[in-house]
Amino acid sequence: MSAVLYDQLGPRGRRRVRIATIAGYIGIALVVWVALQRLADKGQLEGRRWKNLTNPDLLEFFALGLWANVKAALVAMALALVFGAVFALGRLSRNPVVRLGAGGVVELFRALPQLLLILGAALVMPKYGFEVSGFVYLIVALTLYQGSVLAEVFRAGILSLDRGQSEAAYAVGLSYRQTMALVVVPQAVRRMLPSIVSQLVTLFKDTSLGFVIGYEELLRRGKFATVEFGESLLQIYLLIAAVFIVVNIALSHFARWLEGRQQRKYGAAGAAASVTGVEDLAVLDTK
């Protein structure tokens, strides 16, 4: 991919790369060794600390916590998709009032920290008679934020479609509604699928913010567990981080696989749009 930065190496270059490779391995080994040494010094490598992680009760406790993350992510994703679709169409509406209103909502919620929205939901909603569970506060805040991001994804997807598509639809006599529903949206959704899946990674990461309002997800349960298993505090947090990382890497790979499949199936044009979509998102939205 970046092989363009260097030529097919000659003997001297190859020797240099070989030396650098060895130095690199030594450097990495050194870092790992220092880290392990440090852990050993503080007694963090002792078996008893790690053994707690195999405690079946603890693992079940954590599995249920992870399920709380998954549940929140799935519900919020479903709602955010609806929210995103409605507001994307709103922003593309021919009615200027609807267009400005939808634009304002989307831009506002996209500009605020997800955490502020979660705290805001948990602190403001009860004042207006909506005294509900942490789960609901979390879902409301996730939907508003992720829905707004998705609205932008959808809008970009719809706009990326060749004008000829909607013009052809109008030419055969379809109405605006029919054009959107039958021609534009189905194609745009297919194009945006990889972006939507990679947005799911962001959403899944953000479910751990439920921690803050006492929603019993994996991280909150980890904190609980450190009370009983104080000696395994570091190990518990390492385990939790690893679980999140593994799930998210799997989701990212799924998004990349979808993208590759799209490329093979619908040719370079459709894939190009979805590739930039994913790239923009990865960079734009980094929660």
Partner: protein, 214 residues
């Protein structure tokens, strides 16, 4: 709106800490991003692997989990620093992974002929990267990097959970003494917009400044 106006001083202090946290973390994140991006395009296999591992870990860890791991876990191995420094450490390592990805995609947009031309006049890998490729790549990534700063400013709110008194914790604390929660929320939202909107505008200005015709 009195709840906001009575506490303008607190909000001002909150904005200052959020800005300070964001700017310091961002500067470090750019340095980390440059190093990791260089690793990822280098001809040395172990460095490429190290760069990839870094990116995959820190792009996929939830910030809250990373914060918890650092703030609660690091003292267990004898690393105790102030909460502000923990926040800077976590935010810059996390954002660094995204910066490196942005830089790498920028490097990939530089036309192959540029690097080929640089090599053909005898520049080494380091010189090619430093003198020819990166100056062009950096121009194309102004917009994504600017968005990363905005995302970082928003993400810095998570530091509020780990004992850094910035904007979001200011909001959280004020709701305990004031009853008008919604005006406080709106006030806090405006404070964040005071940071993110100028940052977005500045990004646009910089992008136009450094733009050049290809």
């Amino acid at each position: 709106m009195d709840a906001v106006l009575d506490n303008l001083g607190d909000f001002g202090e909150g904005i200052r800490v959020t800005l300070q946290l964001s700017v310091v973390s961002f500067a470090l994140a750019v340095v980390i991003g440059l190093v990791i991006a260089t690793f990822r395009v280098s001809p040395v296999a172990p460095l490429r692997a190290a760069g990839l591992t870094y990116v995959e870990i820190f792009r996929n860890i939830p910030l809250t989990a990373f914060f918890a791991l650092a703030v609660f876990g690091l003292p267990k191995v004898g690393i105790t620093i102030s909460f502000f420094r923990f926040a800077v450490l976590v935010l810059s390592m996390y954002t660094g992974a995204f910066v490196s990805e942005a830089l790498r995609s920028g490097i990939n947009t530089v036309a192959a002929g540029q690097a080929e031309a640089a090599r053909s006049i005898g520049l080494t890998f380091g010189q090619t990267l430093r003198l020819v490729v990166l100056p062009q790549a950096l121009r194309t990534v102004v917009q994504p990097i600017g968005s990363l700063f905005i995302a970082l400013a928003k993400n810095s709110s998570i530091a509020s959970v780990f004992a850094v008194i910035e904007l979001t914790s200011t909001f959280d604390q004020l709701t305990e003494t004031e009853t008008a929660t919604l005006p406080l929320l709106i006030g806090t939202a405006i404070c964040y917009l005071l940071i993110t909107i100028p940052a977005g505008l500045l990004t646009g200005v910089v992008e136009r400044r450094v733009a050049f015709k290809r």
